[in-house]
Symmetry: C2
């Protein structure tokens, strides 16, 4: 007998999308000194018989790549695997400048210096332990993050730039146009980027799952009515109240959510501790209870007609 977790898969593939031609320094005027820059990368796994109506696009956060959703740092299956088993065609992408999307020389093409997140910044910003705690690495006692795998997680980090947002949003728009109607699940920095890109092609977005997103479009400056038919699920982990940064970011996102509700949008705000699920870090998809949280997301997709 075969194990019950066998996946019947029709296709595994990948592509780059978006980007532009650029002159290659130092010969900016040499017509042969050309590169392709500002593209992004996506890899997909398509099921033989998907149960979801639309492909599910998993979008990573800042300083990371699509690896966010693959095997977890502790070696357990991540959300790519979970949502494949749940019947979705799953796309995992690397944003402009990250991972397999490639990057371009600075300051000639990318206009600033990149920066790398240190382990201390990750430990604190991702709420593995209380602020200031990294030197002794005492995690929150109840944390769901696999603390023993923190250094393995740190190997996933990639440098980032602060000056590529416009190119990144353009590439996400190209990505949505290439894939067609889809559900987008985004994490952290990825949230504001895909919401902004999605506003340009709202007819292609059938749902947004926004996991601890760090920002959102300003509702005063945005015509949110185009998202009136796009259900939004916001997911938040634990220890937000310990972090001044996260209190502010969640407030910004809440204002976006409230404005969307005002124009008739479907908005669900899933505060995990409020429903009894405690100990989640910012990296919910890597936490030990990642399957349980994915299950709540899956239920939400079912309730919003996103499954066949």
């Amino acid at each position: 007998m075969r194990p019950s977790n066998t996946l019947e898969i029709a296709e595994i593939g990948s592509f780059h999308v978006g980007g532009r031609r650029a002159g290659a320094p130092p010969h900016m005027v040499d017509p042969n000194g050309e590169l392709e820059v500002e593209q992004m990368y996506a890899q997909y796994v398509k099921l033989d018989r998907p149960k979801a109506r639309y492909p599910l696009l998993l979008v990573h956060g800042g300083g990371l790549t699509g690896v966010t959703y693959e095997t977890k740092p502790d070696g357990q299956p991540g959300w790519q695997s979970y949502f494949l088993h749940a019947g979705h065609d799953v796309y995992v992408s690397d944003a402009v400048e990250r991972g397999r999307a490639s990057w371009a020389r600075y300051p000639e093409i990318f206009k600033s210096e990149p920066f790398a997140r240190t382990k201390q910044e990750a430990w604190e910003l991702f709420r593995i332990g209380p602020p200031g705690n990294y030197p002794v690495r005492a995690a929150y006692p109840e944390t769901q993050f696999p603390v023993e795998a923190f250094d393995q997680f740190a190997k996933q980090a990639v440098p980032r730039w602060a000056t590529n947002d416009a190119a990144t949003i353009a590439a996400y728009e190209a990505y949505f146009r290439k894939v067609g109607p889809c559900v987008v699940l985004a994490h952290s920095q990825g949230g504001n980027l895909v919401l902004t890109a999605g506003l340009r092609v709202p007819e292609l977005i059938r749902g947004f799952v926004l996991v601890e997103i760090s920002g959102a479009p300003d509702p005063v400056m945005t015509n949110l009515a185009v998202f009136g038919n796009v259900p939004h699920l916001f997911v938040w982990g634990d220890y937000i109240d310990d972090s001044r940064s996260w209190i502010q970011m969640a407030d910004t996102v809440a204002r976006y959510g409230e404005a969307l509700r005002t124009v008739g949008g479907s908005v669900e705000w899933l505060d995990l501790p409020a429903v009894g699920i405690t100990g989640n870090s910012h990296m919910i998809m890597m936490d030990r209870n990642s399957d349980a949280v994915a299950g709540l997301i899956q239920d939400w997709m079912g309730r919003h007609g996103l499954m066949r």
Copy 2:
């Protein structure tokens, strides 16, 4: 009825391996200013019922990533897909400094400036058209490379360094140790790197498929006897004789192959034009006839006891 090309897959996953801790510039002495550097990345797809005895590790060449083996630039399935369908558990990796492996700031951690390959260099070095031909982009008339997809191919390029060979070889060794007994298929720059790493763990390498590799260990300086039981297949495309660089590189590789034969090793030298398969570029796995060449590699694996 399901399409006959459905894959029954037990697991899709990925990992980073190798690397070291480094101080993060500019605070090299700050104990909290730490990064993980010099790791590599691998992604695997494991079949429910593989027909191959060992996992197949696909290793990319210079200035590129594991995307080399995924969907081809013309949108057709690449060798990752071919060898999955042929019954192998397939691992696709990104070397140190490339793609999802990440890279580190220079000159503080990586000790030199990176360089990016321009499209002209790629066109000529990869033998899409005759030397000097890029400005008019007239490909070899019989080329198997999908010339219309050349710009799409250029989006796969990533910057590279000339000073990371030792770290790259160390990471490949760690990779082989993590995976265990395996067959390694390497392209171009990847060849010398995996041969050198393999010499440290020859008992783990059950076969080498070396596709247009650009170098090989110096047989005078190397104890090749440890590879006496490791069959080697060398694969070469067309138009080598037009390129002074490739004539030299193939000569270097031939010296390695001859020395290996002298110590009793199994060496097969597959010169595709000599067996009537013409028009292949350096990027054989992206050429229109990539499946046909993969079929010859698959046959070789069968003849060398690498399939069940």
